[in-house]
């Protein structure tokens, strides 16, 4: 086990997922990409991420249902889920919150802000542990 926090980037939109992966890697995170909800669930088990960056509109299994599945598994209780979506209406926000996302950010987003929020959440998590 190394000490770098692990980030699973779940997004079917190639440019965005590439960009997110590069950014988090530069900041010293360990990153894995998943391209849909099913892919995400498979990688959850093997990769055991600390943070999941979750898109909502995805093939096969959308972000809301994927988040719900993650939360149903007790072993992922502490995993931070950050919803990142171009669908920013109140209803989607609420559904994501109900499903168990810790944070909702809307696209387009400011990378610096996303990084700051993620690292802040990880600090809180480790502090409370």
């Amino acid at each position: 086990m190394n000490d770098y926090p692990r980030v699973l980037v779940v997004d079917d939109e190639k440019p965005i997922s590439t960009l997110l992966a590069q950014t988090f890697e530069q900041e010293g995170y360990e990153v894995v990409n998943a391209f849909d909800g099913i892919d995400c669930m498979n990688k959850m088990a093997t990769f055991r991420p600390d943070v999941v960056i979750m898109d909502i509109m995805m093939p096969k299994l959308d972000g809301v249902d994927t988040t719900r599945l993650i939360r149903r598994n007790r072993s992922y209780e502490d995993t931070i889920v950050v919803a990142l979506s171009a669908k920013s209406d109140e209803e989607t926000r609420q559904r994501m919150k109900d499903a168990g996302a810790n944070l909702f950010m809307r696209k387009p987003f400011v990378i610096a802000k996303l990084l700051a929020r993620v690292s802040r959440m990880l600090e809180i998590q480790s502090g409370s542990r």
């Binding site: 960009l19 950014t23 995805m58």
Partner: protein
């Protein structure tokens, strides 16, 4: 001398006995008698001329009356068509002034808000006075003052000038002096609903004639007020409903699926826009921060992403703009004649190269070299790009995309087929809605915007076409677009009719034309009908003809193809115009793109009511006898559909029918026995009063008496005027006149009781009459009285099959029929009332020259012309 027998024959009905007695006498005596007869004949000739002059004068009176009736019907139609209460009120006062001839008309309507009558519209009132009147409220107690029972005549109230003793009675018997309208006198005509509620009233004064109106005028006025009452009531209901509706629609907006779609539209649009924007802004941010440290390859990569995403964004924005432009009633689109094949071929190259890149096969099947169609080329190009682009998007490598183009009878069929993932069965109907996506995730995979198909649908709808999707075996989807060659162009039914062709009627005729052209596989079809003058055919509806042609086409009887068919009543089939020497001239007409045409008359009996003309077969072959037989076999059905539809559905047509019938009936049928008929009606009503028929039933009876036999006009003239007995078929014709009359009166929205009275006016007391065969007391009392009045007036007048009878003889005929044709109780009263008018009847019979051989008046263009038999 040679003329003597002719004169003798002429006057034979009158001088028969004299002539018969003359035959065996010696020649001298015969000469003397013949001379006497000659003089007598000359005197008779003078009498005939005098009678004819009287008839001409009377014709004028009748035409005046017909005009009034026409006016009333026109006004009724107008006010019944008005739904808005304020507008209706405005029309009413003017209408009343127009029809009744009162120079001062004020319409008061009850207001629930103020619990009073308020003056709502005026005619012949100065603005100052109007302002004064409009402010005044007539309370129910005031109205009671206006409608005192002792002032009542029929349903109106005659108010004498203040301070004078009441004496005005509108009675024909009064001398003109005493019928003079006095200054300050008023006539109040209530608008009373069938439930007895007074919804308003008319305050009338100063008749143009200067005379108190006669009973006939009062009846007309009351007929109008009844129509007005109905119109006011329905306008009130309508107003109320409209307000309610407005409230409801505000409340239900949230439930409205359209509103829901609009909401989704905004959400979806913002999502579509944000996705590329996310990449753009994120990469830009990264670039700004790391510009100095970034490797050149990364820089290229970043810039490419930003570029690609901006292109995508621009595409989406364009789509959205297009869509919103289409939703905004598409102001800028226009249709021009375009070759669809050329348009598709123009795009083929770009599709082929795209297909090669994606390793997909592309195929174009055009069913013809040229397919001309009126369309908006830019829009159709946009649609094609979307549909074919979509097909590429959903087709995996190794698959195939095919574009097909075919002509059918009235449309061009365009298909785009792929071997992609297909469309789930339950989503087939939805994919053309704005921003609907089968699987929202599909967007991600295929860069779809979800706007494309909605735009396609809008484009197709704009061209009056249809678009649908289906799945094909073994895999893939097919989108089919049907573009009609040209929407059917409809002409208003009749430029002079009061209302334009109602939507359903237009729709109906249009469907009919589509049906014909589809069945025959032809591109051009026109339905032509005679115009009101009967000299020309005009196009009523057409397919495949420019609107300008439809509007301006006028074909003279006997000219051109349709004109010939109209004249001859025979089908015309031309195989090859260029070889047919008969039609050299018509060859120049540009709309015949194939040299073959077919023209079929639609006949109602012997009369050609319309001509259907078709040409330009889709497959470019000549029209043949098979087509002819087919269209001819359709013709009777088309005629029936058209005539039935027009007589039942088209209010304006009904109105024309009534007007024409009334015109001819009053002029032809009633011409000769006008006054006698009036006396008979008077006897009928007097009898009804004697047997204490209630007031409203009296009113129904009075109305029915005016109209009960309008249906006679539907009976062929040769049957009506046939001397001698009628055969079975002719009798059936005559018996149908009752139903025909009710059909004609349909649009007057007759009271059910009036209908009953008219329906049963030919029933016999013993049950042997028609149309139902009611017997005894089951026959409405009024109908039994009409039966008697009809018989009496008929017997007193000359008929082609028998001379007129004297009063005694006529009364004997009625007595002889008591218990068989006639109700015993009613007959007794009726004969009694007849006896009371003996002198008037005898005078009238004498004055009208009963017994001369003036028989019938024929009509030509509304001008009655006396015809000697």
């Amino acid at each position: 001398m040679l003329k003597a027998p002719a004169i003798g024959m002429l006057i034979a009905p009158v001088t028969g006995i004299v002539a018969a007695a003359a035959v065996p006498m010696p020649v001298a005596v015969v000469l003397v008698i013949l001379t006497a007869v000659g003089v007598w004949g000359a005197m008779m000739g003078l009498r005939i001329m005098a009678a004819r002059r009287r008839l001409e004068v009377k014709t004028e009176v009748l035409r005046g009356r017909t005009r009034t009736l026409e006016n009333i019907l026109a006004v009724s139609a107008r006010i019944n068509a008005t739904r808005n209460l304020a507008e209706l009120a405005d029309k009413l006062a003017t209408a009343v002034e127009e029809v009744t001839g009162f120079r001062r008309v004020i319409l008061y309507l009850w207001s629930d808000a103020t619990k009073a009558f308020e003056a709502r519209s005026f005619a012949g009132i100065t603005p100052d006075e109007q302002a004064h009147l409009a402010g005044a409220q007539i309370l129910p107690s005031d109205y009671d003052e206006l409608s005192r029972e002792e002032c009542r005549y029929s349903n109106c109230y005659f108010l004498d000038p203040p301070g004078t003793r009441r004496q005005t009675v509108p009675c024909v018997d009064l001398l003109p002096d005493s019928r003079k309208w006095k200054t300050g006198q008023r006539l109040i005509a209530p608008l009373a609903s069938s439930g007895g509620d007074v919804v308003g009233y008319l305050d009338l004064a100063e008749p143009a004639s200067g005379l108190v109106p006669d009973p006939a005028a009062i009846r007309q006025l009351e007929f109008l007020t009844r129509q007005a009452t109905t119109a006011v009531e329905s306008a009130e209901v309508y107003d109320h409903l409209a307000r309610k509706n407005a409230d409801l629609s505000v409340a239900s907006e949230k439930l409205n699926s359209l509103a829901e779609m609009k909401k989704n539209f905004v959400a979806n649009v913002s999502h579509e826009l944000r996705t590329p924007l996310t990449s753009i802004s994120a990469y830009t941010e990264l670039l700004q921060k790391n510009l100095n440290t970034l490797a050149p390859e990364s820089l290229d990569e970043f810039l490419e992403v930003i570029h690609d995403e901006s292109v995508k964004l621009t595409g989406i924005i364009n789509d959205i703009l297009d869509l919103s432009q289409m939703e905004n009633n598409r102001p800028s689109m226009k249709q021009v004649d375009t070759d669809l094949v050329a348009l598709v071929k123009h795009l083929e190259d770009s599709w082929t190269s795209r297909a090669r890149k994606m390793n997909i096969k592309f195929k174009l099947d055009a069913g013809a070299e040229v397919i001309q169609l009126a369309l908006d080329p830019l829009l159709i190009q946009q649609m094609l790009t979307h549909l074919v682009g979509n097909a590429f998007k959903f087709t995996p490598a190794g698959g195939q995309v095919r574009v097909g183009l075919q002509e059918t009878g009235t449309a061009v069929c365009l298909t785009v087929q792929d071997t992609g993932i297909g469309i789930p069965a339950d989503k087939l109907g939805d994919i053309f809605e704005s921003f609907y996506q089968v699987d929202s995730s599909a967007t991600r995979r295929h860069n779809g915007q979800g706007v494309g198909l909605a735009i396609c649908k809008d484009i197709v709808v704009h061209h009056d076409g249809r678009i649908w999707a289906e799945n094909v075996e073994p895999q893939g989807a097919r989108i089919t677009v049907l573009l009609p060659r040209r929407p059917a162009v409809l002409q208003p039914a009749d430029p002079v009719s009061l209302t334009s062709l109602p939507f359903e009627a237009g729709e109906f005729v249009q469907r009919l034309m589509h049906w014909v052209s589809e069945s025959l596989g032809i591109q051009v079809a026109a339905l032509m009908v005679p115009d009101p003058t009967g000299n020309h055919l005009t196009i009523r509806a057409a397919i495949g003809l420019p609107e300008s042609v439809v509007q301006s086409a006028r074909v003279r009887r006997g000219a051109g193809f349709a004109g010939r068919v109209w004249e001859s009543g025979e089908t015309l089939l031309v195989n090859d115009l260029t070889r047919d020497t008969r039609f050299r001239r018509e060859l120049n007409e540009p709309r015949y793109s194939t040299p073959s045409l077919l023209c079929v008359p639609l006949k109602d009996g012997d009369e050609v009511v319309a001509v259907i003309s078709v040409n330009n077969k889709v497959d470019r072959t000549a029209l043949d006898t098979d087509d002819m037989v087919f269209l001819e076999s359709l013709a009777p059905r088309l005629t029936r559909l058209l005539t039935r539809y027009e007589s039942w559905q088209d209010g304006a047509r009904d109105f024309e029918a009534i007007r024409d019938t009334l015109r001819s009936t009053t002029a032809v049928g009633h011409m000769r026995h006008e006054s006698l008929l009036e006396v008979c009606q008077e006897i009928c009503l007097a009898s009804a009063r004697r047997v204490m028929l209630p007031g409203d039933e009296l009113e129904h009876l009075a109305f029915s008496l005016q109209f009960y036999d309008v249906g006679l006009d539907s009976v062929p003239a040769q049957v009506l005027s046939k001397p001698g007995r009628l055969n079975e078929e002719e009798r059936r014709h005559v018996e149908k006149h009752v139903d025909a009359g009710l059909g004609i009166l349909e649009s007057l929205q007759l009271n059910a009781k009036v209908r009953q009275l008219i329906l049963h006016h030919h029933e016999n007391f013993d049950g042997s009459g028609y149309p139902v065969g009611l017997a005894g007391e089951a026959i409405p009392l009024g109908s039994r009285l009409i039966r008697l009045a009809d018989t009496l007036s008929s017997l007193l007048n000359h008929r082609p099959w028998r001379p007129s009878m004297g009063l005694d003889e006529a009364m004997d005929v009625i007595r002889g029929g008591i218990g068989r044709e006639y109700c015993p109780r009613m007959s007794e009263v009726f004969l009694d009332e007849t006896e009371a008018r003996r002198q008037r009847i005898v005078d009238l019979q004498d004055r009208e020259g009963a017994g001369t051989d003036l028989k019938r008046l024929a009509l030509d263009h509304g001008v009655p012309v006396p015809v000697e038999a």
